[in-house]
Symmetry: C2
């Protein structure tokens, strides 16, 4: 499998004898195991998936050919220590942002081992998606767009933000999705000014913009979309701002293509808004895949360059405290000559 070839090649390039993988999404990527708990120890040419009795049957069924599934009972530390000694691993990479101090210090005490803290070792391999991954992200996007269209009819004066979430997430499952890829945001009126306004018991009123940020997992892969909705006409002043966000989104999608620096893309969108005296405080976008937020991050400090078949979001927004907010977000596949749009929903303000 190509992803494992890339992985072992990187192990070799980094001059390590193996990697201890703590991040469950990285474990899934390398082994196809979809359970909640497990450890993965790689050598230079082996993948050893270690699970307890609860997950052993599932692991054996799911894993790619070539992955060795091992069941531990008793102390996980002893089990891993034995594996490391048997395999004569000396330089062992660890995922420094993903491993807990506790597990780190246990492994460090195994004697003659040297731990090599690494960042985003597997995550950066995951950035460029293969055929199956793009199919799954695309399906997740289709399910979420369809569900959103169906849930729109329930957005009426007097329903709560949480009611909208109930209708939307119900349809996620009925349309074949696994579960929401994050806590669905439904932020109406003043609450729209919070970029992370998780749905509340607030009742939705006419003429107030409603920011709805939603996504679903399909076969483990996430979608991520935002649309802004209004019951009836929004305030007049809102309309100009919304057009600016639409244009910002267009600019982002116009320039995004393989070869462009992520920071450059972020800059192009911000420059347009800046000319109008507008700005927003979050990044322009992020990678999406087995996790809802993953590399490449698209912001001013990003060091990534866009590559073909990366899955990314572009999501400019504007936030006016105590008044309203708005955001437009799509999930896109980067191509050599542009992007493939996976979200089949209008960019216009949606009048419910």
């Amino acid at each position: 499998m190509e992803r494992r070839e890339k992985f072992f090649e990187k192990i070799s390039k980094n001059n390590i004898d193996g990697l201890f993988v703590s991040c469950i999404s990285n474990i899934r990527y390398l082994t196809n195991f979809s359970g909640e708990e497990g450890y993965l120890l790689s050598t230079q040419n082996e993948l050893l998936l270690i699970v307890d009795s609860r997950f052993i049957e599932q692991a054996k069924k799911e894993t790619f050919t070539g992955v060795d599934v091992l069941e531990y009972s008793g102390k996980i530390n002893d089990f891993i220590e034995n594996l490391i000694k048997e395999r004569h691993i000396h330089w062992l990479g660890i995922e420094k942002e993903r491993i807990s101090f506790n597990i780190y210090s246990n492994i460090e005490n195994f004697g003659s081992i040297k731990l090599v803290p690494l960042s985003d070792f597997v995550e950066t391999i995951r950035m460029v998606k293969d055929y199956d991954e793009i199919k799954n992200i695309s399906s997740a996007c289709k399910i979420s767009s369809k569900s959103f269209n169906e849930a729109l009819q329930f957005i009426k004066e007097g329903v709560t933000e949480r009611d909208v979430v109930a209708e939307l997430e119900y349809r996620f499952k009925k349309n074949g999705g696994e579960k929401p890829s994050f806590d669905t945001i439904v932020a109406s009126g003043e609450r729209g000014a919070f970029p992370h306004g998780v749905a509340s018991d607030k009742k939705i009123e006419a003429h107030e913009p409603i920011v709805i940020d939603f996504g679903v997992f399909y076969m483990g892969y996430a979608s991520d979309t935002t649309r802004t909705v209004c019951i009836g006409e929004p305030p007049e002043e809102f309309k100009n701002y919304y057009r600016a966000v639409q244009e910002a989104q267009n600019i982002g999608q116009y320039f995004a293509k393989a070869g462009l620096k992520a920071s450059e893309l972020d800059k192009k969108v911000r420059e347009y808004l800046k000319e109008k005296g507008l700005s927003f405080g979050h990044g322009l976008g992020h990678g999406v895949g087995l996790e809802i937020h993953e590399p490449p991050y698209i912001n001013a400090n990003s060091t990534y360059t866009l590559e073909e078949n990366m899955a990314i979001t572009i999501e400019p927004g504007l936030y006016f405290p105590d008044r309203f907010g708005m955001r437009l977000e799509d999930t896109l596949i980067v191509k050599n000559d542009g992007t493939d749009q996976l979200i089949d929903l209008t960019h216009e303000l949606i009048i419910a």
Copy 2:
């Protein structure tokens, strides 16, 4: 506030100058901040909540009196380093299972600081619930029981496990819950033998037992319940096993009270099953609160003793690979003379 008094007393007893709190549930417990991201630095008498611009308004609105909310921009490391220096913190506790190696090593490099790795420092304070917490857990249990009763009518031959989840979780939200407290388990027929059988696309058939393990958050607090359901009569051999699980559950609830060792409770239930040649591979139960699984863990190796107003689950089950499984689980409040049952659902096998 009592919880903070306990916390500062424990800081003082441990001879540390403060604690760096990484676990977001612990942060919520001490500050009432319900956002997804933040850091908490305590001194011996201060709680400093550190958030970025996305969460600053929410943090200011939500936090208990006496919590200082600080906004950082730029490098979080520099910000924390300055706080630590200003406060003359030398011995700083860290949550060793909860802090990433990366953050640990950044703080360790701050110079004259000594880090003290601690386990479950806040979690063990959280074990005994106060009045509001019990009210919230109780509400979560009511919402989940009501939703379960409503969803039962949708369990029919030919619907998928995922359909059942869609109906149940829809009702969670309509009945005032926030979101599922874990991935709802609907495991029918042979899949019931997986203790962690997250719902699949499998269609439910008549006469096969269906294990449904479900819970919801209310005001941040979780419920946790399992019931076993069957469309029509289950296999004859199933019935005896099910009676054993019912009796195991009765025994657990009969003996559970303040003063009993958690390991002793686990043992009493297992001894009963052992006499019948039966056993199960997971713990008897666990604490429940801001997290779905938290101390006190109730298993053979547990060192906890039950105390009044702990919120716990008791959940014996039996699993027969390639045949079926069954489990009964309640959320209970430990009292001096027994337990308060929070789940208003029959212990009988439920015939849908």
